[in-house]
């Protein structure tokens, strides 16, 4: 093994130029090294399941994009954007075939599904034209060229993402912003995440907001749900047009709202409705009937005096002490929740913040929208 590249004992000075001699040996060694690796037995089955699932996800993302394009074009109110389809159909069919050559399609609503797509993994063919790449809302455009040998007639009209989804490694520089609590203890805020890579990519939503309790707050009393029309988080934006395209350096924003549990005052746990008992002696009993431990009760009682406490953020701190009805507002004694944003692709949280004086309630989160710098 030791003298593999020099079986004839050639002198050193000759070695530099005798690569022809070395190459077959290297080739054989490389193949030998991995010869025994076998796929896992269930590998093919996993692929059979994973591929249609991935397609469905892309398609879904593209329907969102189509809706968004239509929305921008016609300035239709946000809620109407389910009925897309027809208007785009003709253009899509033509564009989709044109783009098969190379994805240089101008941005906008045209297809360029292939070009953008090869950008995803190939990187050499990609066209990064910033297209939102909407193709028709799942309308088949049966063309003969779709059939490839051995695959049968592929249902076309497939909505492939024009740009790759942002990989976790492309996202960073996360920051969080929170506003001061209102008189009911509601706190609005947002996470902003930037595309730190030098290529464009898309975000299709699916960020996860995780919550952890701090101080005396028990995270199991905090729910995290998607914002929907009609819920108490009226300050959050409506449904967004996804996917968002993030040019390098651009970012998206996930807005959230902390709404204390109803009847629980500004923390969600007290029976007090924000008036701010100064003694804190009565605040101990929880109005919601939840059984709390002795320690928890104590801190809860304390925190009612502080009304909603203060909010602090990890980056842009707006640490204004708040005054939510109680003139003697003091920060709650360590009770808080910490919220973190984990991008769809998983991995570590990209930004986090904490909300003081939170005890029980709900965090509503909206779909990502483009961040305005």
């Amino acid at each position: 093994m030791t003298h593999f590249f020099d079986p004839d004992g050639m002198a050193d000075e000759h070695r530099e130029n005798d690569h022809d001699f070395d190459e077959p040996a290297l080739r054989r060694l490389l193949h030998d090294a991995v010869r025994d690796i076998e796929p896992q037995p269930q590998a093919l089955n996993r692929l059979r399941q994973a591929i249609p699932a991935r397609r469905a996800r892309r398609r879904q993302a593209m329907v969102g994009a189509a809706a968004g394009v239509l929305l921008v074009g016609t300035a239709v109110p946000v809620l109407v954007h389910t009925a897309t389809g027809g208007g785009l159909d003709t253009a899509n069919t033509t564009n989709a075939s044109a783009s098969q050559t190379i994805g240089t399609g101008r941005g906008g609503q045209g297809g360029n599904e292939l070009g953008g797509d090869s950008g995803a993994a190939a990187g050499t063919l990609g066209s990064d034209s910033g297209a939102s790449g909407a193709t028709g809302g799942g309308k088949p455009s049966a063309s003969a060229s779709d059939a490839s040998p051995g695959t049968g007639a592929a249902p076309s009209g497939t909505l492939a993402a024009a740009l790759p989804l942002c990989a976790r490694a492309q996202l960073g520089n996360g920051s969080a912003q929170t506003a001061v609590p209102d008189s009911q203890g509601r706190v609005y805020g947002s996470f902003t995440v930037l595309n730190t890579s030098n290529i464009s990519c898309t975000v299709a939503g699916g960020d996860q907001i995780t919550v952890a309790g701090e101080g005396g707050t028990d995270a199991s009393k905090i729910r995290v749900v998607d914002h929907t029309a009609g819920d108490p988080a009226t300050g959050l934006p409506g449904s967004a047009a996804l996917p968002l395209i993030l040019a390098p350096g651009k970012g998206y924003k996930v807005e959230f709202a902390w709404i204390p549990a109803a009847g629980g005052g500004t923390t969600g746990c007290s029976s007090d409705t924000g008036g701010g008992t100064t003694s804190g002696g009565t605040g101990g009993s929880s109005g919601s009937g939840a059984t709390t431990t002795a320690g928890g009760t104590g801190t809860t009682g304390g925190s009612t005096t502080g009304s909603s406490g203060s909010t602090s953020t990890s980056s842009t701190s707006q640490n204004t002490p708040t005054d939510a009805g109680s003139p003697s507002a003091t920060p709650a004694g360590g009770d808080a929740i910490s919220l973190s944003d984990i991008p769809q692709q998983g991995g570590p949280a990209v930004a986090s913040t904490s909300i003081g004086g939170a005890c029980a309630g709900t965090v509503y989160s909206s779909e990502p929208v483009a961040a305005t710098p």
Partner: protein, 186 residues
Amino acid sequence: MIAPWPVAKLPAEARGADNAMATGTTVDHLTETYRAHYRSLLGLAALLLDDLASCEDVVQEAFIRVHSARGRVREPEKTLAYLRQTVVNLSRSALRRRILGLKLLSKPMPDMASAEEGAYEQLERDQLIRSMRGLQRRQREVLVLRYFADMTESQVAETLGISIGSVKAYGSRGIAALRVAMEAPA
């Protein structure tokens, strides 16, 4: 007291009826590609990656990406090139993420080690593999693509996004470095 409580935010599932159709149309191509290339791509990933446990993840992800993009499936003759390209890219980002100390891939294959432990362990001990790991990333990539994947210099150049001249330079420097490493006492 601090209990992270992840709540998945999945958008409403809207999987259409053509889902089943899509499965049906591509299984043949998938199976074919799988049989023809999966194993060699696993080898490719094993040679490119420091971290053997993620080889299968990388190859799986490459298959999923390439096969879920309809445009690619239309050109079966290019499938292997796409797959290789994706494996190279993913191996790089996996390496990069490993360097950053971050999580490798979001969904690791379960019990990777069980069945293939022997083969991967053997790989760990392989002197060539250990020597390859000592090379610069580019050198290693060029050697693996050139001599394991049997690509031409221009294919390697295209895959790595570098010039043919660079391919030659990395290749010869890589071989020289490898020779030194292999001759060093193990």
